[in-house]
Symmetry: C2
Subunit: 337 residues, 2 copies
DNA sequence: ATGAAAGCGCTAACAT
DNA sequence: ATGTTAGCGCTTTCAT
């Protein structure tokens, strides 16, 4: 059984209030007493109970985080910067890895409520009505990171996905490509689904390029689906000379598929990714990618959330961070090999 | 302000005791009352305060986890299975990502104590005396996952690293290789440093192969150091025909380095990894690896820890899981190209 | 079968 | 400058 404040008080020969005062760094405690108290704390190995403190202060310093898949490099990186920002501000994280399990999400939202977390960060946009209802009822600050749900009531920290996809596609057009394949995301997703798809289409149209139905596929952001969708693209009569995948994972899958089918990246087909995950530097050829400022995204998300938690201040619109195209080896000018 | 048990009691027209009883599924509550209480709970959106419960029950259902680097695929995968096992048993995780920051580790251990976590999982073996002292003072069940600290007092869930490295090296010998490079870990680490190194050496000796000093390098398990150590190996006069790296990340770095220097894997140099991370299937060629049962490791870790938490039962020795060599494309028989 | 009241470890009025 | 005491929201004797 751990020592309590009472034990410290008794050992130091003071009242619990005095102990509490030195614990919380208040003035009005003589140095002499302060010393005795600290000695007693040291001797007993006393650490104040966060539980009891939370109860009386009505403040838990806990933030709940819902991640779709912690084994994905993209989310792991955001999470690590979220954790860092939390730690810097003396908040702790309760992490829920839902891995597509909607029931688990509900369960955790309930846990979050029971634990009285002071804010919630959500990193996926597949919010159904039930979840939405639960969130609204909780009346806890909620912020979305890297995604945007249909709800206008929640603020998101994101890049301009439309513009980013537009710029990425435009870059390929600038390299002389006209037959540009697209491996998109889930069209039920606003940011990574719809917006990136629109960006792709409008860039083509803007470049005077006809949109070819067979060049357009949709995956689930993971390596495997990039591989499979690429396999379909390779069945098209006139092969695309470039492919834009809306996640680095899918781009890697696409590169592997191209290679496994005896073609070369980028000589035969250029590949462009999206995200700026660690994978971009690991592959050969290295992967050109439309990068999100992943680290910053996590940090900003936590800062905005904590501001809301502590001051009640809610941003009046989404926080848009800058995207940046990082050119590596997987894309080359058409016909330059 | 969230509703409290008192609010529920008032709305249902019963005492708080009765509400508490239905909350905890006790008998001795008439169906009629139970119904009224549940209705009130529903109407108010009431969720019992975990804080208050923890205080009176003297039980938090919290487990602290210390991860060296959450952005590494290996740790992320263990963590995800730890989280799953925790969730299945109604425990929640407080995750600390130390990323080489020893101060942060100390800070978090203190947080763990204040939060009254019921157990701690640690996934790195760089425990210094100060940390060790703190852990011992806390008197909370501690378990190590995938690593083994020098202390004999802590139990670890690991593979037989010596045997695994021995088997891996032996596999390369079986393929006809004699000039086998080694990219090891930190020799201050028992499992991933010393034991794997011994396995490598003894396999060579057992195969009647002389140990060549220039073939032996040490890295920090990350991709970059695999790349850099491989660069050194390529400077040796008689190039190794195979290289064994004690992490998949380093193996990938080594493969990239070999390729960037105009050589081919596995035709010129075979590469063997260690861990069985997701990377093994992403690279081209795919990576042959001495795999740890990563998922199982996380699950078993949590099960053993929870058993100790709930029954006080401490295993009398380390839990050794089976390693398994998975042969992919990065290793081939010598002189078979 | 239901309720009143004590107490979990702490903080914060309030007193002195 | 220090101490007394009343809660924080819940569970759990102990009564009834």
């Amino acid at each position: 059984m751990q020592p309590k404040i009472k034990d410290v008080a008794r050992l130091a020969g003071v009242s619990v209030t005095t102990v509490s005062r030195v614990l919380n760094g208040e003035k009005y405690v003589k140095d002499d007493l302060k010393r005795r108290v600290n000695l007693a704390i040291e001797e007993l190995g006393y650490a104040p109970s966060h539980i009891a403190r939370s109860l009386v202060r009505n403040k838990t310093n806990l933030i709940g985080v819902i991640v779709p898949d912690i084994t994905s490099s993209f989310y792991a990186t955001i999470l690590s910067s979220i954790e860092e920002a939390a730690s810097d501000n003396d908040y702790n994280l309760l992490v829920c890895n839902i891995s597509e399990d909607i029931d688990k999400e509900q369960k955790y939202l309930n846990v979050f409520q029971e634990m009285r977390v002071e804010g919630i960060i959500i990193m996926h946009e597949k919010i159904n009505d039930e979840i939405r209802g639960i969130i609204h009822k909780m009346k806890i600050p909620v912020i979305f990171s890297s995604v945007k749900p249909i709800d206008q009531q929640f603020v998101s920290v994101i890049v301009d996905d439309y513009k980013a996809a537009y710029d990425a596609t435009n870059y390929l057009i600038g390299l002389g490509h006209e037959a540009i394949g697209f491996i998109g995301g889930d069209m039920r997703d606003i940011t990574s689904g719809q917006n990136r798809y629109s960006g792709y289409r409008n860039a083509l149209t803007g470049g005077g390029i006809r949109i070819v139905h067979e060049y357009i596929r949709f995956g689930d952001y993971k390596v495997k689906s990039g591989y499979e969708q690429m396999k379909e693209l390779l069945r098209v009569k006139n092969l695309p000379t470039a492919v834009f995948a809306v996640s680095d994972d899918m781009a890697v899958g696409a590169m592997n598929c191209i290679r496994d089918n005896g073609l070369r990246v980028p000589e035969d087909i250029s590949v462009m990714g999206f995200d700026g995950s660690q994978l971009t530097e690991l592959t050969r050829p290295t992967l050109t990618s439309m990068e999100q400022p992943i680290q910053e995204m996590g940090k900003v998300t936590m800062q905005v959330l904590l501001k809301q938690v502590e001051t009640g201040e809610v941003p009046d619109r989404d926080i848009i961070l800058e995207h940046r195209l990082v050119s590596r080896e997987s894309c080359m000018a058409r016909g330059k090999q």
